[in-house]
Symmetry: C2
Subunit: 516 residues, 2 copies
C-alpha cells in the first residue's frame, strides 16, 4: 500500500485540528492491505478433511435447489438432478471442475473511480451494517426502520472513510412500499454516496433494476458494465443444504452480467448446522460450493466471494451468539477454506448486545480479530450492527468507524529504516532524558500516532469534571456532528437525471412484484 498517500491527508487533518480550525473534508484513506499472512489455526490436512467431507455431503446428501432454471443449468453440466425433486447431487469431479474459474481478486467499481475497491488477494474492504429491521439512536430510541433513518445512515456511512462500501440497506426503510423500495433505496445510495453498492436478491426485477441503476450511475454502457463488476449481492443459503428461489434467481441474474455474488451460508451451529464447528464448517463449505458451481456454470469466471458466517446459538435459549470463541475460530477457518479454493473471503463484524456497552465492544473486536487475522477480504456489517443484526445503531456506526480506523492503522506496515530506528534521537536524549523536545519527535509528532475519534484519554479528574462522558456519549456526539456537516458527494447532473428518469419509469410500471 502507498503509505505516503495515507500520511498526507492525516497530516493535513491533524494540523488543521490543532490550530483550532474546522478540519477539512474526510481524508481519503487508501484501501488497506493485510501486511501479514492470515493465521492458520488448523492444519492444511484438517482443511482438506473439511473440504472432503463437504464433497461427500454434495455427492451423497445433495442440496435442494428451489428453482427450475437453476436445476436445468446444473443438469446440463452433469449434476445429478432427480426429476420431480429439488434435490441436486454433485460428483466431486464436477465440483472441482467448476472451482478455479472464479477470479482470486477483482475490482468492484464505484460511480466515483476513487472509491473502486480490489476484492481479494491481500486486500480488505469494510462494509456498513446491512439489513437491520430496526434503527436506534439514544435520543430517538429503538424504532422500525424508515426512509428518514435510512438516508441518514447513508449520509453517516458516506462521511466515514473507514467504511468502504455498502453491504445492503443499513436499515430497512419499511415505510416505502416493497414494490418500489429498491428503487428509492438504491437511488439514495447512488446519490447520497459515491461508494460501491450492494443489491438484494429478492426477485429478478430487483436484481435487474439495481444492475441498470449501477450502470447509469457510472455512466457506462452494457459492455463496460459486464467487464467491470459494479455491484454485489449477498446470497444466503436457507441452511441446511437448501437454496431458495429468489437467491438462486439472484445468482443467475448477477453472474450472467458478470456482477459479484457473495455466497454466505447461514450456518448457526446447533440450529441450522451441526453443533460441532467442524460439522458446521463442512456444511458451510458444501453450501458455498454449491452456489459456486451454479454461478460458474452460468458464467465461467464471474466474480464470486466465499462467505463465512458460522457462529453458534445459545443452547439454552436458541438465541444466536456472535463474537464468541466459536465465531472467531470459524472466521479463521473460513478464511483457510476460501484461500484453499482461491476465492476472496467474506466475514463480518458482529455482536449480540442490546446496548452499546462493553459487551457490544468486546464481541465486535473479537469478531474483527477473527475476521482480520483470518484474512477477510470483505468485512460485512463493519459499522453499525447491533442485536445480532436486528438493530442498526447510529452510535455504533460512529464507534465502529473508529474501531475500523484502528484496524486500518494496525494494518499499516511498521518501517524500520535508519531514521525510524532513531539511534541518533536516543543519543541526543541520553539516559534519563525525555523525548518530547527532540528534533526527531518534533518532526513527527503530529502524524506519529493514530488519533481516535471516540477514545477519551483524559485523566480521571479531568474526565470526571467534564461530566464523566462514556464512549456512548462520544459516539452520540460524533454521529450528530457528521450528519450536521454532511455534504453529498458530487454527481454528474446528467447521471442524476437519468437515475431519476429510470426510477420514475419503473415506478410508473408498478415497480417489482411483492410476492417474494
Amino acid at each position: 500500500m502507498t503509505d505516503d498517500a495515507l500520511e498526507e491527508p492525516q497530516r493535513r487533518r491533524r494540523r488543521g485540528a490543532e490550530r483550532g480550525q474546522a478540519p477539512p473534508p474526510a481524508p481519503r484513506l487508501p484501501q488497506p492491505t493485510l501486511p501479514f499472512r492470515p493465521v492458520e489455526i488448523i492444519s492444511s490436512d484438517e482443511v482438506e478433511s473439511i473440504h472432503l467431507a463437504s464433497l461427500a455431503v454434495l455427492k451423497e446428501i445433495g442440496i435442494d435447489f428451489l428453482h427450475a432454471e437453476a436445476k436445468e443449468i446444473l443438469r446440463n453440466i452433469g449434476a445429478d438432478v432427480k426429476p420431480g425433486s429439488d434435490r441436486v447431487r454433485f460428483d466431486p469431479a464436477l465440483v472441482e471442475a467448476q472451482m478455479g474459474k472464479a477470479p482470486r481478486q477483482f475490482t468492484l467499481h464505484a460511480r466515483n473511480p476513487e472509491r473502486d475497491l480490489v476484492i481479494g488477494g491481500d486486500r480488505t474492504a469494510f462494509c456498513s451494517v446491512g439489513s437491520a429491521p430496526n434503527s436506534f439512536d439514544r435520543d430517538g430510541g429503538r424504532r422500525p426502520g424508515n426512509h428518514h433513518d435510512y438516508q441518514n445512515f447513508i449520509r453517516l456511512g458516506q462521511s466515514f472513510d473507514q467504511i468502504h462500501l455498502w453491504g445492503g440497506y443499513p436499515v430497512e426503510p419499511v415505510d416505502i412500499h416493497a414494490s418500489v423500495r429498491h428503487l428509492d433505496a438504491i437511488f439514495d445510495m447512488l446519490t447520497l454516496s459515491d461508494k460501491p453498492i450492494h443489491a438484494y436478491s429478492l426477485g429478478r426485477e430487483r436484481n435487474r433494476d439495481a444492475i441498470e441503476m449501477a450502470r447509469i450511475a457510472r455512466g457506462i454502457d452494457d459492455a463496460t458494465l459486464e467487464r467491470e463488476p459494479s455491484l454485489f449481492t449477498i446470497i444466503n443459503s436457507s441452511s441446511p443444504l437448501r437454496l431458495d428461489t429468489p437467491m438462486l434467481e439472484g445468482i443467475i441474474q448477477m453472474a450472467r452480467r458478470n456482477q459479484v455474488v457473495v455466497l454466505t451460508p447461514f450456518t448457526l451451529a446447533g440450529a441450522m448446522a451441526p453443533v460441532t464447528l467442524a460439522g458446521a464448517l463442512t456444511q458451510q463449505n458444501a453450501e458455498a460450493l454449491a452456489g459456486l458451481v451454479l454461478a460458474q456454470s452460468v458464467r465461467p469466471g464471474s466474480p464470486f466471494v466465499y462467505g463465512g458466517f458460522t457462529s453458534n446459538v445459545d443452547m439454552k435459549s436458541g438465541a444466536p451468539a456472535f463474537g464468541t470463541p466459536e465465531y472467531m475460530k470459524s472466521a479463521m477457518i473460513g478464511g483457510q477454506l476460501a484461500r484453499r479454493h482461491g476465492l476472496p473471503y467474506r466475514s463480518s463484524n458482529t455482536n449480540a448486545a442490546n446496548s452499546l456497552d462493553a459487551q457490544a465492544a468486546y464481541e465486535s473486536v473479537f469478531s474483527l480479530w477473527g475476521a482480520i487475522m483470518g484474512g477477510a477480504n470483505l468485512l460485512m456489517h463493519g459499522a453499525g450492527w447491533m442485536e445480532g443484526g436486528l438493530q442498526a445503531s447510529f452510535e455504533k456506526m460512529a464507534l465502529d468507524a473508529d474501531l475500523l480506523g484502528m484496524v486500518i492503522d494496525f494494518l499499516r506496515p511498521v518501517k524500520t529504516d535508519e531514521s525510524e530506528l532513531a539511534i541518533e534521537a536516543m543519543r541526543d536524549v541520553g539516559p534519563g532524558g525525555h523525548f518530547f523536545g527532540t528534533a526527531h519527535t518534533q518532526a513527527r509528532y503530529r502524524t506519529a500516532f493514530f488519533a481516535p475519534m471516540i477514545s477519551d484519554w483524559r485523566n480521571y479528574e479531568s474526565w470526571r469534571d467534564a461530566g464523566s462522558p462514556t464512549a456512548l456519549d462520544a459516539a452520540n456526539k460524533l454521529f450528530k456532528e457528521r450528519l450536521e456537516h454532511f455534504v453529498a458527494p458530487p454527481i454528474e447532473p446528467e447521471r442524476r437525471e437519468a437515475l431519476e428518469e429510470f426510477v420514475a419509469r419503473r415506478k410508473a410500471e408498478g415497480g417489482a412484484p411483492t410476492d417474494f
Copy 2:
C-alpha cells in the same frame, strides 16, 4: 493441551447449573497452549535491524546502572564501566555471549502444585491486575487502595480459574505502613490464594522476605527453592536507558536465588522513548538485554522473561494511550524479538478508559489481540486494569475474567475427526431441517459452546423487560456473588503457622526500610 481435562469440569458445571443446583467449585481449567504460530508482522530481517540497532545503542550510548554492585558485576564480565560514572557500555559480543543462557521455558511453582505454570514455549498464563493505586467498584466509587479492597481482590482473583497467577498487588494497600506492607500483602496472597505469586523489587529486604515466604508456603528447603522458581518480580527500567537502584537490587536478589526476573522497559513512544515504533522497540530491546546480561551474569541460566510494554502517548496531552494500533503492533513485534532471543515473552491487557464502557472493552480486546497473536507467554494485568493502571476495578476484573475465558476457549484446538465432521448428522436432518433434536446435537449441546458469565444474549424485548442491564451491571453482580461465596483454598496448618511466625518476627524487627 488435554482437551478432555477441560471438557469434563465444564460439563459438570453446566449440568449442575441446568438442574438449578448450585454449581460445584470453580472447575480447574488447564493452562492454555497457543495452537498456532504467533503472527510475524515484520520480517526476520526487520527484527534483525531492530536488534542490531539495540546492540549499537548498548555499545555507543550505553545504559546508566544506578547500583555499585551491579556495575561491579558487569565490569567483571568485561563491560565498559566508566569509573565515577553510572554509564555502562556493552560490546555486542559480550551481549550475545550472555544470550542463550536463560531457559526458553520453565515452571513457576505455586504452593498448590496443581497451580504450577509453565512460562514460555507455546504456553500462556494470565495475571491479575497489579499495582493500581486506586480501587473501584460501582457501589463504593473510586478510592485509594486499602487492605480491605486488597484482600477482596485476592479473593475475587482466586475465584476465577481464568486468572492463573498474581502480577503484583491488585491494588496498593496504602493503609498498611510501607515498612511491613509487603509482609501482610504477601501473607494474604499466600493464604487467601494458592496461585503463583509476584514480589516487588523495592529494596533487598523485601525481595528476601518474599522469597522466604514463598519457600515457607511451599514447605520446601532452600535447595529445592533454588531448583524450582517460586515467585517472580517485574523489573521496569527507568526509561530511557537507565536501571535504578531497587530494580537492580531486585535483579541481583532474584537471579541469585534462581527466581524469575521479568524485565519490562517502560517505553512510551514520544515520552520516554523515540516517537517512532521502531525506535521505541529498539530502546525496549536495548534495555531488556541490559537487564538480561546482568541477570545471567549473576546466575547463568536463571529464569528471565522478556517484557514488552511499548505504547504511545497522546501527543496533545502527554497522556499514555493503550490498546491502540501502535500498542498492538508493538506487542506483536515484542514477541518476535523475544522469540529471536529464545526467551519467554510478557505482554499485557491494557486500556486507558475511566469507566467500564465500550472504550474499556475495545482497548482491552485490542490489547489481547496483540498479546495473544504476538505469542505472549505471560499476560500481565489480565483482569481488572483500568485508567492506564491507575485503577483496579472489581467489575473489570469480573468482566476480564470472562474475556480471558473466551481467549482460553478460542485457543482450544478445533477437532476434525469423523464424528465432528458430522456427515451423518447432516444426513439425518437433510435439507431444510433443524439440528436441535438430532442425536448428534443432543449428545453434545451441554458442553458444545463457550458459556459466558457476562454476555447477555436475550432478545431486545426480554432484555428491556428485565431492566435493560448492561455488561457493567452483570459484572457488578458477578463480582459480588463471587466474594459472597468465597472459600479460601486449604493450606497446611503448619505452613500457615510458619508464615504467621515469619511475619510476626519480621514486624518485630521493624520490617523493611522505607527509604526506597
